[in-house]
């Protein structure tokens, strides 16, 4: 016992100030860095969205030229996906996985430090392209050749920044897998793990399987541009559609990378505030696994219009429709968990219930998009834009907000301001729907996506959508305020924080010690 003590004391001598954050190998410090970085990128990507909505406020070109507009849509997507949502989830995993499985830290702390510190460089490189001759990348985040090959000096910076983001994600994923597989407390069997841990384990495997595919695809773009290969150049015997197949073989699992941890978060929060166990724990695990499996065999539904053979279109239509089944199982389980519970609606619960409702709306439009003959009408319109923003903003981002409110008292030891939190939820929910719901109508009425100017029949809904966008954007400044206010102080949180909270992280003090579980807890 005494040796354990001295060992711990040695670790407590960590540097302070800036070097604490640069050299840290602590899962909590790195989690904090990831989360704050994600918040910063959320604001940067959000500012770009504001520029997009400003230009689309009225028909005509008022503020930006079309090339810059295309840069904004491209950069907004890259930053929100790779800079905001993914790092936020990795940050949550860093903070929560060791505390939830009864481990002292992540398994590979130095790699953990490295995988975070790659990111600021990757995004500095990506953002620097805004100042380059020829402008920032403007070919869409999907990087389709031949268009992306027309990018100016920014091109190699774009490719290398994606390589860096990929390396960071893969290292983060390896760390999560190794931690979960090796460092669970005695008695913490796989089927006793909290769902957040489960969904992250599956997400980590998706990351390891798909990020190298993206890296390969963008490397082929690089050699096509600079080393005279013709992977995607029809004139040289290559195939531009092959890029799309490779990209979406990464891209579809990627969208589940962006949503599975959100499923985990909501599955933690709803039972707490319903004061009732999750309705079907094992079916949730199986449903998540099925979704992960299906994500590898549905990629071509993003490219129904490229001219696939009929049998190909039918296969991808049926496989995509099938995803509705496990996704439905998840929604039904959340609803059954709420049913006949004893619910209270603190901010995390509000965001979680908002998630279930609005993610389901995004699921419905997803099902509609799966129907190939109608997708020929929906494809590349604002209907698609509305769909993926419902699953990514009211889905992934709402879940991240819910998680922040839910665990912030544990992380900081301080309660956040509940009144402000509720205002943040209601304003966000109202304005996000003003922002994205009319985009369904725009798409159905025939407005293509990624256009800086539009014909007059789209004017009204674009104006409504822009107003919703500006208000939603402003509302998020509240979130920044609430986060920093909570970090600085506030009503002291108890160890359990929430009356109905269950799980190992709530057995630790608030805030928890630097090393979560120096002695493995006992699992019943």
């Amino acid at each position: 016992m005494s040796t354990t003590m001295t060992h711990d004391d040695h670790h407590e001598e960590h540097p302070t100030g800036l070097s604490r954050w640069i050299f840290t190998t602590n899962h909590k410090d790195i989690g904090t860095l990831y989360l704050l970085f994600a918040l910063l990128m959320f604001m940067v990507g959000g500012a770009m969205a504001m520029i997009i909505r400003l230009e689309l406020f009225q028909p005509g070109l008022q503020f930006v030229d079309p090339q810059f507009f295309n840069s904004m849509t491209t950069m907004h997507a890259l930053i929100m996906i790779f800079g905001a949502v993914m790092p936020a989830f990795v940050g949550l995993a860093n903070w929560l996985v060791p505390m939830m499985i009864g481990a002292p830290d992540m398994a590979l702390p130095r790699m953990n430090n490295w995988s975070f510190w790659i990111l600021p460089f990757a995004f500095a490189m990506l953002l620097s392209t805004l100042l380059m001759e020829g402008g920032a990348p403007a070919g869409g985040w999907t990087l389709y050749p031949p268009l992306v090959l027309q990018t100016g000096n920014a091109f190699p910076f774009l490719i290398f920044s994606i390589h860096l983001m990929g390396i960071s994600s893969i290292m983060g994923a390896i760390n999560v897998i190794v931690t979960i597989v090796n460092m669970r407390a005695p008695g913490m069997t796989l089927m006793k793990m909290p769902l957040f841990v489960w969904t992250w384990l599956i997400t980590a495997y998706l990351l390891i399987a798909t990020m190298p595919v993206l890296a390969g695809a963008v490397t082929m773009l690089l050699t096509d541009r600079f080393f005279d290969t013709s992977f995607f150049d029809a004139a040289g015997g290559g195939d531009p559609v092959m890029f799309q197949h490779i990209f979406w073989f990464f891209g579809h699992p990627e969208v589940y990378i962006l949503i599975l941890p959100a499923f985990g978060i909501v599955s933690q929060i709803i039972p707490t505030f319903a004061r009732k166990p999750l309705f079907g724990y094992s079916s949730m695990v199986y449903a998540t696994s099925s979704i992960a499996f299906l994500s590898f065999i549905v990629w071509a539904h993003h490219m129904f219009t490229v001219g696939m053979p009929l049998t190909g279109e039918l296969f991808f239509m049926y496989a995509t429709m099938l995803i509705a089944v496990p996704t439905g199982v998840k929604v039904f389980n959340w609803v059954s968990t709420m049913w006949r519970g004893s619910m209270t609606f603190e901010t995390p619960m509000l965001f979680a219930v908002g998630f279930v409702v609005m993610f389901t709306i995004g699921g419905f439009s997803g099902l509609m998009l799966a129907i190939t003959p109608v997708d020929f009408q929906y494809h590349d319109t604002y209907f698609v834009v509305a769909h993926f923003h419902y699953v990514l903003v009211t889905g992934a981002v709402f879940a991240i907000m819910a998680a922040a409110y839910y665990w912030m008292p544990k992380w900081t030891g301080n309660m956040y301001n509940e009144t402000l939190g509720k205002w943040h939820f209601w304003l966000s929910t109202i304005f996000v729907n003003v922002l994205f719901f009319p985009q369904h109508f725009l798409g159905l009425a025939g407005m293509p996506r990624r256009i800086p100017d539009y014909s007059l029949q789209f004017a009204e809904f674009n104006m409504i959508s822009s107003i919703g966008g500006f208000a939603f954007g402003l509302t998020q400044l509240m979130f920044v305020y609430i986060v920093f206010q909570t970090i600085r102080g506030g009503e002291k949180a108890t160890d359990q924080v929430w009356e109905g909270a269950e799980g190992l992280e709530w057995t630790l003090p608030s805030p928890p010690p630097y090393h979560s579980f120096s002695v493995a807890p006992e699992i019943k």
């Binding site: 090339q67 709420m338 509609m368 109608v374």
Partner: protein, 375 residues
């Protein structure tokens, strides 16, 4: 398109602050997919409505349960949590029922898809080529072909003129087809990927360099149908609309013969000597429809993206190099080979124009016969 000036930006900010609407015609709030005018667009619409209603009712049930639960099962109303969980029966029920509903959707969807992909037995074949940023149409077997680009004046885009009724959805040369005929489109592209889409004709198909994709439609009503490029294709992706005019058979035949007559006139024009002023006048029109999108109407280009032509080595240097780059393009850049798009007379005219406009004062001219010889 032009970069908006600072003054225009200021004016727009003022308009934004006052929440004024757009100028010009305000159409009604369009909410839903268009049923369209072809059998396929109608079946796509029917499928859309069917699935929308299925989703609506599932949503009503799920959201109904959520809202009831949120209202009734709250602690503040004294609700006591029951501790039930895990029920294999329930899990099986809510797996099997959605599966059956999905099969109900898949059957009509499959039927429609099979019909859409059947491009056999067409009455008329048209090759569609996507360019940055216009469309080319070739009536196969008819020796008729032309380019179709945006005809909305730039002044409407920048807000100096009020926007017209068909703002951004109007072209100089629309695609003309006969009604009640199965029209097969063979779709390709010369530079980057585009996508040909007219909602009322049902569906879209990507135009991909190196590929020939096929789709078909049969317009059942005379009229003008408007659509847009649906795949991001660069700077002016939002400015390459598609207009299809469906005419009855007699009107269509009349249009077709007028096209052939105009073709013959152009061919004859290429054989004669042109005066410099005629070349420059024609060249300006060609320049504005084919070159100005990148090199700008004033020839200044966009620094870093598209080179300027005013006083450049190319436009004031030897004419053979100039002819070569216009006809064959420049690999690795957005500069397209225009030999495939433009007629001899148009290439000759536009090069003459570029060498003698905006203060470029080379003074020489290029005859269509030189272009013919260079092919």
């Amino acid at each position: 398109m032009l970069v908006p000036t600072f003054k225009q930006k200021l004016a727009s900010l003022a308009g934004l602050a006052a929440l004024t609407g757009s100028s010009g015609a305000m159409a009604e709030y369009a909410l839903n997919l268009m049923p369209g005018v072809t059998p396929l667009s109608q079946s796509a619409y029917d499928l859309h409505v069917l699935i929308l209603w299925i989703c609506f009712w599932i949503g009503m049930v799920v959201f109904g349960v959520i809202f009831y639960s949120v209202l009734a099962h709250r602690k503040s109303r004294g609700a006591v949590a029951s501790q039930f969980h895990e029920s294999t029966t329930m899990e099986i029920i809510w797996t099997v029922i959605p599966f059956i509903i999905l099969i109900g959707m898949a059957i009509p969807a499959t039927k429609t898809l099979v019909a859409m992909e059947d491009v056999s037995n067409s009455d008329l074949n048209i090759k569609v080529t996507g360019y940055q940023w216009k469309w080319g149409y070739d009536y196969l077997g008819e020796e008729v072909g032309f380019l179709s680009s945006l005809s909305t004046p730039l002044a409407q885009v920048t807000g100096e003129e009020p926007k017209g009724e068909h703002y951004l959805l109007e072209v100089d040369n629309p695609l003309v087809v006969p009604i009640n005929k199965k029209v097969r489109l063979s779709i390709t592209a010369s530079d980057v990927i585009h996508s040909w889409w007219v909602p009322e004709l049902g569906g879209k198909k990507d135009a991909i360099p190196g590929y020939i994709n096929e789709m078909w439609f049969k317009a059942e009503k005379e009229g003008t149908y408007r659509g847009q490029c649906a795949e991001l294709c660069g700077k002016d992706h939002g400015f390459m609309p598609i207009v299809v005019v469906a005419k009855n058979e007699a009107d269509y035949q009349q249009w077709l013969s007028a096209q052939k007559t105009a073709n013959d006139a152009d061919a004859a024009a290429a054989d004669r000597e042109w005066s410099k002023s005629d070349l420059i006048a024609r060249g300006e029109t060609v320049y504005n429809s084919s070159c100005a999108a990148c090199h700008q109407a004033n020839g200044q280009g966009i620094p870093g993206a598209f080179p300027g032509l005013v006083g450049s080595a190319l436009t004031t240097g030897p004419k053979n190099a100039h002819i070569d780059i216009v006809m064959n393009g420049k690999a690795g850049t957005a500069m397209a080979p225009f030999a495939a798009q433009l007629k001899d007379i148009d290439i000759a005219a536009v090069i003459t124009y570029e060498r003698n406009a905006w203060g470029n004062d080379v003074g020489d001219m290029i005859q269509p016969s030189e272009i013919k010889a260079a092919r």
